[in-house]
Subunit: 131 residues, 2 copies
């Protein structure tokens, strides 16, 4: 069961300073998803595209807030829009999730290797102290 503390998300400037440091994953996706309403929107869109009004209805959100959250998701490439008459139909884009997936995959691999070699580290520490 994952947990996710809710602290202030860093500003756009802070983020852009980081970009490129983490291969395949810059952090805007995580930040966008760490807002509960946006995560709920994303979960909702798993079942297929929806209009703004439908999303607002199903989540009990007001329309302006829904539009704002969708803008954030859209700016980050998490969703895309298709205009259809008066309505805007939002759907998920798979790319961010694929990137997130491959990041975690590589993560898991390294973690597995390094999992229980705390003992090794302790010996390292002792060696350093001798010198």
């Amino acid at each position: 069961m994952m947990q996710l503390l809710f602290y202030r998300r860093p500003s756009l400037d802070e983020v852009s300073n980081m970009s490129g440091k983490i291969p395949g994953v810059n952090m805007t996706t995580l930040s966008a998803l760490s807002e509960p309403n946006r995560m709920n929107i994303v979960e909702l869109l798993r079942d297929g595209p929806l209009t703004v009004g439908e999303i607002a209805d199903k989540l009990g959100l007001r329309q302006p807030q829904t539009s704002k959250h969708l803008k954030v998701l859209s700016d980050n490439g998490i969703v895309e829009v298709q205009a259809e008459a008066n309505r805007r139909i939002y759907k998920l884009r798979p790319e961010p999730f694929q990137a997130l997936d491959s990041w975690i995959q590589s993560f898991q691999r390294v973690m597995q290797e390094r999992f229980d070699n705390l003992d090794d580290y302790l010996k390292e520490l002792q060696n350093k102290e001798k010198s």
Copy 2:
């Protein structure tokens, strides 16, 4: 290539209201990781356990800030501590990443199915308008 916008992270209260809605993944992990310095710490710990001082050195952070970030990561079960004399050795815990992994996996599955049936949705919309 993932993106991650940086907006305010929701408060702890907001998060606890969401808990359980997303099976296996509540959002505190994402929120904790969406802070650049904390993400850097996590990336650093991929290579093995480190003390607070070492983390601060390698990332160019001050010690108090480093401790604060580590506390957030610790409170969220992303890292665990082992006391060793004066020092505290921090290492990653695999569970949050496994949970995040399985969430994305299930996500990918559903997205694959629903990927390109926007046409179906448009037909649905038209049917609704007739009634």
